[in-house]
């Protein structure tokens, strides 16, 4: 049971495209496009959004993302008008980045609030702010705390672009460990697909995978294997 997504757009093609893109990175998440008016024109369709909202829910709740002005109002109205007890939130987020971040987060089994936050945090990435840096400090986490590190080399030519970044975030999503990846002088949370993409890591780059927590060893092994696999590319 995972949190579902609804993509509310003025355009049917845009909604379908965003849903397609996000679904590639989160195959088990219900991502429902709700774009255009009922007669196929540009605009937002309240009934279409309401129906998508029902279909996106599997019991864990739904996050709605929108493109422009009235799409937000239609999404909010659809949530307020729900007649069934679905938990839903409208995320204030850039549509594409927000949908990708939310989808990957939902794929990892996160709850409704976490998926909504993942979408909302996409703002910062779009504006080039805060890379959600997450230094696992040696002084805070000593050997005794089980801080583990391993250097790995990215094998695929394109490095951590969207799909590999999503696979990486998903690999650690359900593990009980804080995990970060360092590339050069940047270190980011391995759970965040947008932060991983923001590293700009390319094929041949050496990454430092660091983890602390009960399943740190498992996290390190899993990521090392994945990053060095070339992601099948």
């Amino acid at each position: 049971m995972r949190v579902g997504l609804v993509i509310v757009s003025h355009s049917a093609a845009l909604a379908a495209g965003v849903a397609e893109l996000a679904a590639q990175m989160a195959p088990d998440v219900r991502i429902m496009p709700a774009g255009g008016t009922a007669d196929g024109g540009l605009g937002t369709d309240f009934d279409g959004v309401s129906a998508a909202l029902e279909r996106a829910d599997s019991g864990a709740g739904v996050v709605l993302l929108y493109d422009l002005g009235s799409a937000q109002m239609t999404a909010e109205l659809a949530v307020e008008s729900l007649t069934t007890p679905i938990r839903a939130i409208v995320a204030d987020a850039p549509l594409v980045e927000g949908a990708v971040a939310a989808a990957v987060c939902a794929q990892g089994g996160a709850d409704l609030d976490a998926v909504g936050s993942a979408a909302a945090m996409a703002h910062a990435f779009v504006q080039g702010e805060a890379f959600d840096e997450m230094e696992l400090d040696r002084h805070v986490y000593g050997e005794g705390d089980g801080l583990l590190e391993r250097a790995v080399v990215l094998r695929n030519e394109l490095g951590l672009h969207a799909r590999p970044a999503a696979l990486t975030a998903r690999a650690v999503a359900e593990l009980d460990a804080e995990v970060s990846i360092r590339c050069g002088d940047q270190e980011v949370d391995a759970h965040s697909v947008l932060a991983l993409m923001g590293l700009g890591a390319r094929g041949g780059d050496e990454l430092l995978v660091r983890a602390v927590g009960r399943e740190a060893r498992h996290a390190i092994d899993t990521l090392a294997e994945l990053l060095e696999s070339g992601f099948g590319e």
């Binding site: 008016t37 009922a38 937002t44 369709d45 309240f46 002005g69 009235s70 109002m73 109205l77």
Partner: protein, 208 residues
């Protein structure tokens, strides 16, 4: 004595019909500072409302407004759908199960509509939106509650027209027109205009 369910139906029908008359003017106003679809969208929505009103079967004034709201929400497509839909929905809630609408209830319904529009669109007076027509309308309505529904709505319509006219020099801060920045000044806001037109039609149709 106030307005019965038949009176309210007739008033909403008159408002819906007047949209057809003003369709082209609203299209033109929206073309200047928006995307030109306001007249078209409202016309489509209120045409659907007329069809629903023909179906009848209303058990009170509130149910007429509620059907109007849900029809607009489902058919308008642009920002006006959720905004007018919310306005009619909140107005319906304010009427409750009253079988007749008096001046006080009409003023309450307008105030509830304004509150809903502000909550939905997050616009404030001066942002060059329908709020600039609806806010003075509510104030005027509240100061005439003892004079009957027709007087309340006429006062509201007068104030809404003045409020709409006051949007001309404003720079838009909400909605599509806000993309234009300073260039939105010098134009009448189409949403404020349609609000004034609808209120005028409701007032003219109110018989008491």
């Amino acid at each position: 004595m106030g307005c019965s369910v038949e009176d309210v139906t007739a008033a909403v029908r008159a408002a819906a019909e007047v949209v057809r008359e003003y369709r082209d003017e609203l299209v033109e106003l929206d073309r200047e500072i928006g995307d030109g679809d306001h007249g078209e969208n409202l016309h489509r929505g209120f045409t659907a409302v007329l069809a629903k009103l023909d179906g009848g079967g209303f058990d009170g004034p509130a149910s007429v407004l509620k059907v109007t709201a849900t029809t607009l929400i489902s058919t308008v497509g642009g920002a006006a759908g959720p905004l007018y839909g919310t306005a009619f929905l909140r107005a319906a809630t304010a009427l409750g199960d009253a079988s007749e609408v008096d001046g006080q209830l009409a003023a309450n319904a307008l105030a509830a509509a304004l509150e809903g529009v502000v909550a939905r669109g997050k616009a404030a007076p001066g942002d060059k939106t329908m709020v600039d027509a609806l806010t003075p309308a509510v104030t005027a309505a509240q100061s005439t509650v003892d004079s009957g529904v027709r007087a309340v709505l006429l006062a509201a319509a007068d104030a809404a027209e003045e409020g709409a006219a006051s949007t001309v020099p404003l720079v838009a801060r909400k909605g599509r027109a806000s993309y234009l920045g300073e260039r939105s000044a010098g134009h009448l806001d189409p949403g404020a205009r349609s609000t004034a037109v609808l209120l005028r039609a409701l007032a003219e149709a109110a018989r008491r």
